[in-house]
Amino acid sequence: METYTLTVNGQTKEVTVDPGVPLLWALREELKLTGTKYGCGIGACGACTVHLGGVATRSCLVPVSRVGNRPIITIEAMAEDPVGRIVRDAWVSLDVVQCGYCQSGQIMSAVALLKSVPRPTDKNVEESMGGNLCRCGAYVRIREAIKAASRQLEGGVR
């Protein structure tokens, strides 16, 4: 067991865990941030997506020991994030979710995309969202919600 200091959603947190524990499980079980979901454990579904050092990252693949001092942002912080709020509101407004289990990861991927490319093309969207699996098949609405959020960002609502 080792103790690590993590910066999660702007707060400093200590966790004492096995160095190999994936960030996903440290967030869920040690810090009780259960909005980040377990779906596959091999980086193939995107349900565990968080922002690590500002980059959309599959938290199931990153051992806590490899996080270093990179800030971690999870779905729980999106209410305080100007882009996150717009994306979340677009999701709600377009009734994107069904079972909703993958949507934390979808939203984290979408926010990362819009922060780097505020006006994404269809191709940008497919490339950024193409690794986020949704078994309910909400993809058509996810595309629409990203476009709606992008228009909102264009309108200067920040």
């Binding site: 999870t74 009734d95 078994r135």
Partner: protein
């Protein structure tokens, strides 16, 4: 179009036709259904108030909030919004104050028509529409009665809107102010329901109640449950179904920090080793270090290639008769040049919901508590009790929101509940969460069965089918289970869930013969969203495309011509599709369209797709869909289900959309080798059109699933000249 005001008696609420109001501990009104005969229950004027309402359907709280209990698991299908809408509409509730909660296991929450508490067969809305309307209307009647008495007026002088009763002379009272008086009134046995023109919510696009929580990370799924002292259990399962633990070496596993216990438990078939730890990761590390000596003797080691070969041979012989229409010898009189003989192959499919199977059980000596995303709560409660040596009523059974299911959580043997119970029984007092890793979930069986179809169609000179001979080969997951549905679904050795879509064909096949073989195979199988229609509609709709092509007919016109006169919903949905898919006639170069339609439990869906080929895969540019599901309770939710269901149905076209077995071992364990559709695989746009209807609502969760795969391969034929009869679609 608007039906007259309906007057309904309590008896139409099936055998649970009696409701009763009582006071909540915190004040406010609780309306519950009771099983007892009305007289007996009404004798006790004031039932004991309960803070946690095991039998409440409606609670009106002092602050005006209205909590509606949903008697169905929410798996994404939207029942948690639609059922409250239905009740709130008849109640004239202020929708902005309505919240929903999932019902625990309980007699009162059984489906009023089929008598089992469950989701399955897209039955939530069709079977509980009337029930929730009556509950809302009766609650409203009691509130109006209370207001009328207070004001000394008659009930028909009062009206309601947004949780307020209005009376003569500008009188008004909020529902929350009236609860104490309403509680003292007997529930009406007869109540007037609204006419369609009076609906304020039903028929309107209403956003989901659970959307925000699912978008900000606050929604608690079963896997998110956190209880003090909770332990995590994983299972080391046999590599072949039915394998047994002969012995194990757990020395390395026990060295993992946080491991609490390791022991063998029985499975429904065979046995497994449970590894229990404080945390998931410790449990997984320990489980993966277990050295288990498996006894695999005396059990079949199924192999997909061998199974297909065996099924293909079987398909050459007639099975048990499912349909016998017209003249069985008709085929023999049709010249060989007017006959098509084809074979189809369908692999096992995993449901693979995003949230892998998991549940939590806490066992005490004379009671237990369980938290389960449960499709069939009362059955599973009974199974849990059986394993623990308790009575079902000693098990408090909470139903938690599920991250998808698609049928996977609805097993007749309740295997995952039994496993968790067996583990919890060894660790009394501790809540134990059994988690299936994705690998465990995908390799655990309970798949959509493999099927082989062999069909011969004889065509008349006018291009229409004259004789249809069809043999279906695939496992039944109903035969031999002893479950109550076995007697209903199995006739003459034929499992209707394997043949549905043929025995209820909407098309006129004058001479039709369908038979089925149900081989026994050592692979657990299960209902999979859209069940038999998933393969049967594929066969029918691709063959119809061949026939229409041969007849040089438009595929929609051909189908309309062939429909039976009573196939009304097929006619309405195909006709609407024809109107809305005008784009079929002006496609870009190298693009083609395809058509298919299917029914599911009285809902019909017709679909057109526009397809091109990119990187040797179908690229689906758009889909247009028309659905006739009777009265559209929530058009927004219907649109959502149609879009999502289409995409779910694409799984079987994916290059890696198959579960296969080799020497008894499942070859896929995660989304790397069993790859359902991701965004680039899905249609870029899906426009949904709903046939206007005032008929009884029918379900929408499963009906869209079967149509897209045949529509896409019908389009591909126009691009490649090839027919695709073996799934998954590995090459184009």
């Amino acid at each position: 179009m608007t039906p007259a005001i309906q007057v309904v008696t309590g008896s139409q609420l099936s055998r649970r036709g009696f409701i009763k109001a009582s006071t909540l501990a915190a004040g406010g009104l609780m309306v519950a259904l009771y099983l007892d005969p009305p007289a007996a229950a009404q004798e006790g004027a004031q039932p004991t108030p309960r803070t946690y309402p095991p039998d409440a359907f409606v609670q009106i709280l002092p602050d005006g909030k209205i909590v509606i209990t949903v008697n169905r698991l929410e798996v994404g299908q939207g029942a948690q919004t639609a059922l409250p809408m239905i009740l709130a509409d008849e109640l004239d509730a202020d929708w902005s104050k309505v919240t929903a909660q999932l019902a625990p296991a309980g007699e009162l929450y059984k489906d009023p028509l089929i008598g089992i508490q469950m989701i399955g067969g897209s039955c939530s809305i069709p079977n509980s529409f009337q029930q929730y309307r009556e509950l809302g209307a009766k609650t409203r009647a009691m509130l109006i009665g209370a207001a009328a008495d207070r004001w000394g007026v008659t009930a028909d002088q009062c009206r309601t809107k947004d949780s307020v009763v209005y009376g003569p002379g500008n009188r008004s009272a909020r529902y929350a102010e009236l609860t104490e008086e309403a509680v003292r009134r007997p529930a009406p046995a007869v109540v007037q329901l609204k006419s369609a023109s009076q609906f304020r919510l039903i028929g309107k696009p209403v956003r989901r109640l659970d959307s925000r929580a699912k978008c900000d990370g606050s929604q608690k799924f079963s896997l998110d449950l956190d209880l003090p002292g909770m332990l995590i259990a994983l299972l080391a399962r046999p590599p072949v179904f039915g394998g047994r633990v002969r012995g194990f070496d757990d020395r390395e596993a026990r060295n993992v920090s946080g491991v609490r216990d390791i022991f063998e438990i029985p499975l429904v078939s065979g046995s497994a080793v449970a590894v229990v730890a404080d945390r998931f990761w410790a449990a997984k590390q320990a489980r993966d270090r277990m050295k288990v000596d498996w006894d695999l003797s005396g059990i079949d080691h199924p192999d997909s290639l061998q199974l297909f070969a065996r099924y293909t041979e079987l398909a050459k012989t007639p099975g048990n008769v499912a349909v016998r229409l017209g003249d069985e010898q008709a085929m023999g009189r049709i010249p060989a040049s007017d006959r098509i003989q084809v074979e189809y192959e369908f692999p096992y499919l995993a449901h693979a919901p995003m949230e892998p199977l998991n549940l939590t059980v806490r066992y005490g000596r004379d009671r237990a508590e369980a938290w389960v995303p449960s499709q069939i709560p009362t059955w599973e409660q009974a199974a849990l009790a059986e394993v623990l040596g308790l009575k079902p009523e000693q098990v408090t059974y909470h139903v938690l929101s599920a991250g998808g299911s698609f049928g996977r959580r609805g097993t007749t043997d309740s295997h995952f509940v039994r496993e968790a119970a067996a583990i919890a029984k060894r660790l009394p007092g501790a809540p134990v969460k059994l988690i299936y890793t994705r690998e465990d979930d995908m390799k655990s069986g309970y798949y959509r069965p493999m099927f082989v179809h062999r069909v011969e169609v004889g065509i008349s000179p006018d291009g229409m089918p004259l004789a249809w001979k069809h043999v279906i080969v695939g496992q039944s997951f109903v035969i031999g289970t002893g479950a109550p549905q076995e007697a209903i679904l199995v006739k003459n050795g034929v499992d209707k869930l394997a043949t549905e879509g043929t025995d209820d064909s909407p098309y006129t096949f004058p001479n039709m013969h369908v038979s089925a073989h149900h081989p026994m195979v050592n692979v657990p199988t299960l209902s999979h969203r859209s069940v038999g229609y998933g393969h049967n509609s594929f066969v029918r709709e691709t063959l119809l495309d061949e026939l229409a092509t041969r007849a040089k007919a438009d595929p929609i016109a051909y189908r309309l011509k062939l429909l039976k006169p009573d196939a009304k919903k097929f006619r309405t949905s195909l006709t609407l599709l024809d109107q809305k898919s005008g784009w079929r006639r002006r496609l870009p170069r190298n693009h083609a369209s395809g058509i298919a339609c299917s029914e599911y439990n009285r809902t019909c869906v017709a679909c057109a797709v526009e397809v091109s080929i990119e990187n040797n895969r179908p690229r689906i540019h758009r889909a247009t869909l028309a659905v006739d599901c009777g009265l559209a309770v929530n058009p927004l939710s219907i649109e959502n289900q149609m879009q999502g269901g289409l995409i779910f149905g694409l799984t079987q076209l994916m290059a890696n959309g198959a579960i296969t077995l080799k020497d008894g071992r499942v070859e896929q364990s995660n989304f790397d080798r069993y790859a359902p559709p991701y965004m680039p695989d899905a249609p870029v746009s899906i426009d949904v059109h709903i046939v206007p209807s005032a008929e009884q609502p029918t379900g929408v969760g499963e009906p869209p699933v079967p149509v897209i795969a045949p529509a896409v391969v019908n389009a591909l034929f126009r691009l490649t000249g090839k027919r695709y009869r073996s799934l998954p679609l590995t090459t184009v």
